[in-house]
């Protein structure tokens, strides 16, 4: 019987050939599971404190966000008010901006209105391409 002569076939070394596979597998695993939480949002620059400027009424378009989310549009100088749904704001503002490029969109929000209503209107204003935006609260 050649049992005594049988050599042990199992190598006691770590197989280095598969090491690269293992390392790359780990690398790919971490690459795919990494979540980049990129920052997204609507940027706005607030005015410096006590640097509020007076602007002439004809350059202001008031967008008054009411507690239920509807929007009252008021041109600065006229007393006329128009109640619209927030999705109409973009179209209105585009028209107004075409007529007067110095127009300031003043978003005036009711204190009890939900944050999302204000963001909806701010979204429309951003989409219309307005550069000059003012955030205000009703009753201040």
């Amino acid at each position: 019987m050649p049992i005594l002569n049988r050599k042990q076939r199992v190598s006691d070394e770590i197989p280095t050939a598969s090491m690269a596979d293992i390392a790359f597998l780990l690398l790919v695993f971490f690459l795919t599971t990494t979540v980049f939480n990129e920052e997204k949002g609507l940027p706005i620059v607030l005015p410096e404190e006590k640097e509020e400027q007076e602007v002439s009424a004809k350059n202001i378009l008031f967008l008054i966000v009411q507690a239920d989310g509807s929007v009252v549009v008021r041109r600065g100088e006229s007393e006329q008010e128009q109640i619209v749904a927030y999705r109409q704001v973009e179209g209105i503002l585009r028209q107004e901006l075409a007529a007067n490029e110095n127009l300031i969109a003043a978003i005036k929000t009711d204190p009890s209105a939900a944050y999302r209503h204000m963001i909806n209107v701010l979204d429309e204003v951003k989409k219309a391409g307005a550069e000059r935006i003012s955030l205000q609260m009703v009753g201040e």
């Binding site: 090491m19 390392a23 410096e48 999302r116």
Partner: protein, 148 residues
């Protein structure tokens, strides 16, 4: 001295195979590089309902320049995992702004927070001098846009 056999039979000493024995070293090096350079954010995620906006833009700002200001469903303000009372926001933000003038405050507010809260916060931020603000939103994709 004449070149033996016209130089035709001389074999190139360099192997044409990619050296597979160093592959493991390269891979581990990459792995360690990514492990070392990865920055973990320790801040806890607050459970809020995000606001959606179609005009959502990517904020191209370094991570260290961004400060998250959470407003959770109970209208509680959190900065760096600390609950902050409304009137203390300016005090908390001012030293952070003094440290880094390029700071951008990312306001992550719950959709149903009343606007009076947001107004208080923007007033506080103005008092602290941190005037660069973004309202963090999720990109909204409307399936059909209303016709105008």
């Amino acid at each position: 001295m004449a070149v033996k056999a016209g130089g035709f039979k001389r074999r190139s000493g360099t192997s044409s195979d990619i050296p597979s024995s160093s592959m493991a070293d390269i891979a581990f090096l990459l792995l360690i590089f990514f492990m070392v350079t990865t920055v973990f954010r320790r801040e806890k995620k607050r459970d809020i309902d995000w606001v959606n906006a179609e005009a959502t833009k990517k904020i191209d700002e370094k991570r260290k320049n961004i400060l998250h200001l959470w407003i959770d469903t109970d209208a509680q303000v959190w900065i760096n995992d600390q609950a902050i009372a409304d009137q203390d926001i300016a005090q908390v933000v001012r030293p952070l702004y003094a440290e880094n003038r390029e700071i951008v405050i990312a306001v992550r507010g719950d959709r149903d927070v009343p606007y009076s809260k947001i107004n208080t916060i923007t007033k506080q931020l103005q008092a602290a001098g941190a005037v660069r603000v973004t309202f963090a939103t999720r990109l909204e994709q409307r399936m059909s846009r209303p016709r105008r």
